[in-house]
């Protein structure tokens, strides 16, 4: 099985990290992974996206034409990548920043007020972890334990408090994702 995914949003929303943590968790589970960020003369507040592929097979192209899964954290990202998602694919989007939403009816839409929920958890910066949780809850792409291990290695010593908030956001995301299975 191969899952091709695009995560997109404003620079600073942590979209690159969504792909990176999932790729790292996938690698820990023995899967083939690739992580290809957009890069360019961009800045905070500009747009950023990352193509991530997680597969049981060797990965041919790291470039994704038709993603199985899109995470759009803002409207420009949803407008740009929404039409590319495969039929019967999944679009997870942040309703707080996507006022016009998505008009497609041949994919599964998962609209979530991510900013609101992240703020409830106590920090806007856990928004990307919430998205990871929703992906895991919906698709089982990687195990929660694998993501927890990745996060531990990043934050256990550096910032245990932020680690707890991140894990809380992932767990909350998983609950939300499960509602759509």
């Amino acid at each position: 099985m191969t899952t091709e995914m695009i995560c997109a949003g404003f620079g600073g929303q942590g979209v690159l990290t969504i792909g990176r943590f999932l790729a790292q968790a996938g690698m820990k589970e023995g899967k083939n992974v690739s992580w290809l960020p957009s890069y360019g003369p961009e800045m905070r507040g500009g747009t950023a996206n990352v193509s991530t592929v997680i597969s049981d097979e060797p990965i041919a192209s790291p470039i994704v034409s038709y993603p199985d899964l899109l995470v759009a954290l803002n409207q420009p990202s949803l407008d740009k990548f929404g039409p590319m998602v495969r039929k019967d694919g999944i679009i997870i989007y942040n309703t707080n920043m996507c006022p016009r939403g998505c008009k497609r009816d041949d994919v599964q839409l998962i609209p979530v007020p991510m900013n609101d929920i992240a703020n409830e958890i106590g920090s806007a910066i856990v928004l990307n972890m919430l998205a990871i949780g929703i992906i895991i809850g919906k698709t089982g792409l990687v195990k929660y334990e694998s993501i927890e291990e990745v996060l531990n290695s990043f934050l256990r010593e550096k910032n245990p408090e932020l680690l707890e908030k991140n894990l809380q956001a992932i767990k909350r995301g998983i609950e939300i994702g499960k509602q759509y299975t």
Partner: protein, 359 residues
């Protein structure tokens, strides 16, 4: 050793250090800056020397000097910076100095942009600098291969006393994939490496014997002697052509109706299109040159099966490799080309559409 998720730029740097590179001189440029950053961080930790030179020209001349004392030395840059290094590269080829040069290509010509491209094929493979010389040119397509070729590049450079270029692109530099490294060279191995060039390199004259006087130079004003020297270089290049051709065959069979040729990351996009079309019963093969010089002419010629009606070249440039493919195909079947320019990377869907139109 377990796998690490790493950017290509970092992986090639780590692999170079493990291969015994303790000298690295460069000047930063996007999209290869993580490479120089990694070297800046790691070289002091392994007792090596990192210098951010004042320019690319200075960096390549530092490489010339370090190679002249027989040490494993590397520099890296991206397209415009590699252009600046060409004089030094030609001097090194002339003086037969082993060194590794990494080019993480971006869009050109001129300053161009900072997106991935393959527009430096001619420069790397057909010359770049002045005079009659060849570089060994290695073209990785994954982060793992980028790392593996770094260590091979040093071995080839030492074996043939010739500069070796690793021709990557911005996509490979920026993307992360799992990579597994070879064990780092041991102290004994590093000493053996240091001693392998004593017969010609500039080295301490321990016993005061005047015979130890070695000269590193690319200047020879006597035409007869210079001609002899260049002929000797070409004997060496013939040896490299005989021994070092590398390529990957993907899905090549007698059922192929199309044979694709692509190199570097572009070849991976082509592979995806081939896989997608295989599901629909269309048989397409791919030859991916790993050495762009020496070029796998015979591999391409022998991959043209009985049903192949066209050889299709896909590159992220204006078709620079096509002439090498045409030499290989030698008029047997038509050779077609499609590519993207300006740092735009084609997608599997683009290639699929091009290939489907052939059936």
């Amino acid at each position: 050793m377990s796998k690490i998720l790493m950017k290509g730029n970092e992986a090639v740097a780590e692999a170079a250090i493990r291969a015994g590179c303790r000298l690295y001189f460069a000047y930063p440029i996007t999209p290869q800056s993580e490479l120089i950053e990694y070297m800046a961080k790691m070289m002091p930790k392994v007792g090596g020397t990192f210098i951010q030179a004042e320019s690319e020209v200075a960096a390549i001349n530092m490489v010339y000097g370090a190679a002249g004392v027989g040490k494993r030395v590397m520099t890296s840059s991206s397209s415009p910076g590699i252009s600046l290094k060409q004089e030094g590269i030609s001097y090194m080829a002339g003086a037969e100095l082993p060194a590794v040069i990494v080019n993480v290509q971006r869009g050109g010509p001129g300053l161009g942009d900072i997106q991935p491209a393959q527009g430096d094929y001619f420069q790397a493979v057909k010359g770049g600098g002045h005079g009659d010389y060849q570089l060994i040119v290695l073209a990785p397509c994954s982060v793992q291969e980028f790392a593996d070729l770094a260590s091979d590049a040093f071995d080839l450079a030492d074996k043939y006393r010739n500069p070796v270029m690793i021709l990557a692109d911005g996509m490979l530099g920026q993307m992360m994939e799992p990579v597994e490294f070879k064990p780092a060279k041991t102290q004994e191995e590093l000493e053996a490496l240091a001693n392998q060039h004593l017969s010609w390199c500039i080295c301490p004259n321990a016993d005061g014997d005047a015979k130890h006087h070695h000269e590193i130079n690319s200047l020879e004003l006597d035409p007869e002697i210079l001609e002899k020297h260049v002929n000797k270089l070409y004997e060496k290049y013939a040896e490299i052509e005989k021994n070092e051709v590398r390529y990957e065959s993907y899905n090549v069979s007698d059922d192929n109706e199309i044979l694709c040729v692509a190199w570097g990351t572009a070849a991976r996009v082509v592979k995806s299109a081939i896989n997608e079309l295989a599901v629909r019963g269309k048989s397409i093969g791919l030859v991916r040159p790993i050495t762009c010089w020496p070029y796998p002419y015979e591999a391409i010629a022998s991959a043209i099966g009985p049903k192949v009606k066209k050889v299709y070249v896909f590159e992220l440039n204006s078709g620079q490799m096509v002439e090498d493919v045409k030499i290989a195909v030698n008029g047997k079947v038509p050779v077609d080309f499609w590519g993207k320019l300006g740092g735009i990377v084609f997608t599997p869907a683009d290639i699929q559409a091009k290939l489907e139109a052939c059936f």
